[in-house]
Point group: C2
Chain length 231, copies 2
């Protein structure tokens, strides 16, 4: 990693880099592929490799389930099931989930406490045909997120983060003021193209935030040595 290359600039071809740094082309390829995967460079056959024009601000967020997160941080976690009802998916719900209406769902509402204080409200829909075992699960001892994680592997997830004002019911449960800013995480998970679960988790804004880091791979081909990572 000597002089930083400028956006759009062409990188020497793999064979030249291999010769320059006295390593095999495979090693160069692996390093450059890693850079490409992180969006640092663009690669096109025959055309060559180029420093990415616009650095994409890509950040990786580890969005854990609340109980796991609390445990890892050394806090006490507890939860109360406020609502648990089997329904059929109506039209509006179906539109929200992108599924067909009519299927049986389990609708849950759950309050999460961290160190005894309300930390989040979880409103969840579980598709019962995707997770039949949920029908007989009370979720009294294991919170829904953890139970689901252990039961069903998901193959795709989508997250949305929103700021909302607390409605009266939410404010009361979270012991905050009505209208206070809250951070809502919406997560939908699929398996083989079918929704497994949809959940909205609302945190009081003054007690929660999401953080993510992005550390691009250093183009450290130059300080390459036989016994160090190249990625």
């Amino acid at each position: 990693m000597n002089g930083d290359w400028k956006p759009g600039q062409r990188i020497p071809i793999e064979h030249e880099l291999a010769e320059q740094y006295r390593c095999s082309r495979m090693t160069v390829n692996k390093a450059l592929s890693a850079l490409a995967e992180r969006g640092m460079i663009l690669r096109r056959r025959k055309a060559g490799s180029f420093v990415a024009a616009q650095q994409i601000d890509r950040t990786v967020m580890d969005i854990q389930d609340i109980s796991t997160e609390a445990e890892l941080a050394g806090h006490e976690h507890d939860h109360r099931i406020l609502k648990r009802r089997i329904e059929r998916l109506d039209a509006s719900g179906a539109a929200l989930l992108g599924e067909k209406p009519g299927g049986e769902i389990l609708r849950l509402q759950c309050l999460h406490l961290v160190d005894g204080k309300p930390n989040a409200i979880e409103r969840r829909i579980i598709m019962l045909d995707a997770v039949p075992l949920a029908r007989s699960e009370s979720f009294a001892s294991v919170p829904p997120a953890k139970w689901l994680l252990a039961q069903v592997p998901w193959s795709k997830a989508r997250h949305i983060i929103r700021a909302v004002s607390a409605d009266p019911a939410t404010a009361r449960l979270l012991e905050t003021e009505r209208g206070d800013a809250c951070l809502t995480l919406i997560r939908q998970t699929w398996q083989n193209g079918r929704t497994v679960t949809y959940v909205e988790i609302t945190h009081p804004g003054d007690r929660f935030q999401f953080a993510g880091d992005f550390q691009p791979a250093e183009p450290d081909i130059s300080d390459h040595s036989p016994r160090r990572h190249a990625t």
Copy 2:
């Protein structure tokens, strides 16, 4: 990808998988390494590879600069510089940034308009010793984020997403009600361990959200064939 493995279960060793799927160990290693990188499996020398106990909910968010994002979505973007002042970093600012106080900074405040409507307030600190060119830049035509992206490549970024209630000044500028929920993105970028810029971008909660997808790698070693990706 035949039967899904259960968490904690041990995966056959690379040599066995190579034999089983009639490919070289390098190929197996590459596939498993990719899975490990995504947190799907855990690997330990001598011990073996194991299906990750807790599926880490890791999501990748593309957090673009506002103007770029608006352009991509086909919207009109404009901005106004509300404040532009050269100061010295005081103690509280230094603590916030994790830098030493006393250095010269450029403090900016900027209103972003999308399709003519206020969409965000940007409050930014630029370290002038890291970006000396900023001293003579007015940012009247190019918004700060875009200008910086073109000027200084960053090597590390940290993002925090928070929900906050609009203070009176923010509410007035964003043409929303005081106390309304807002989504604030905080981003700090470094180059070679030194802060380049720190920015807080506050969006009205009813006009903004962040989204991210996570699609884990399929363990598609079984349908391996000479001319398909193994990762």
